[in-house]
Symmetry: C2
């Protein structure tokens, strides 16, 4: 196998730190001058303020996708349409290779709700441009994705203040 | 309890993403204009290039500490002295509260090697300035630390390319 092949990296699990780990990776790669694309599959997952600091890092492009998901049975078709639209944009970049790292934030959630045809997603990821590292975040990564991934970390919740102690979520530290 | 108290957050485990999660948190907090201090307890854990992108984010101050650890029995006293020096700097900031978030990167490793008196560290963290969130990373977080932490995530390695497939570590994605 080609040792310089871009990696497929998955951050999953019920603990905190999945998206933040992907963002930290983006910063590190940017430090090497590598262009990074972050596609955010679930709108509102990050408050706008939290993204402002990335504006200063020219190597990183952040793009919200799939606004308007409702996650209800009644609007399943509409949610599927939104997911397909976002995924189409991801596919183009995964094939093109002008970004060295592509983060697909919360894609696991979209997949676990069955909003995209899993086989197509797996195939696209497997046939990705060899120069591209793809980082996928979100709970409930499908087994098929873990199977083809190069590196998988499960963020396991050991302790959580909002559950255990009733502390309010706080601006700037709530991930 | 005071719901606005700063949190003590621990990222531990044998998987990838601990430091990157802390760096991603730093970026998010910076997006809210919060001042962040990152104290790096193990020199060389991050290649210099990876830190360059943080230069552009004025809210984040990165500081390497404890250069020169050798991790050998022969130089235990010297390593202890270096750890104590770095820790002294951390203590001052944890008490002062001019930073809203303080990341103590790889402190768990320093603690698990017994290079600092654990009781002192636990006491300082427990009595931290209430306005400060402290984020601690590294494998093998001591049980006493997990006990007093508000939020603990274990990064669990599910799959790793360098072990499983012999792929070389790659610039910009090796964490």
């Amino acid at each position: 196998m080609n040792a310089e092949k871009g990696l497929l990296i998955v951050f999953t699990g019920n603990g905190k730190g999945k998206t933040t780990a992907a963002l930290g990776m983006a910063m590190r790669a940017a430090g090497h001058g590598m262009p990074v694309l972050v596609l955010q599959f679930i709108k509102g997952a990050w408050p706008y303020g939290e993204l402002r600091s990335f504006d200063k890092v020219e190597e990183i492009e952040l793009k919200p996708l799939g606004t308007g998901f409702t996650w209800t049975k009644e609007s399943l078709d509409e949610d599927r349409r939104l997911a397909a639209e976002g995924w189409e944009e991801a596919v183009a970049e995964i094939r093109r290779g002008r970004y060295r790292i592509i983060v697909l934030d919360e894609l696991n959630v979209v997949l676990s709700y069955g909003l995209l045809p899993l086989n197509d997603v797996i195939e696209t990821l497997r046939d990705r441009n060899p120069g591209v590292h793809v980082v996928i975040t979100g709970r409930n990564a499908p087994a098929e994705l873990i199977e083809i991934a190069d590196l998988v970390t499960e963020m396991k919740q050991v302790k959580h203040p909002y559950h255990d102690q009733g502390v309010k979520a706080q601006k700037g530290v709530e991930f």
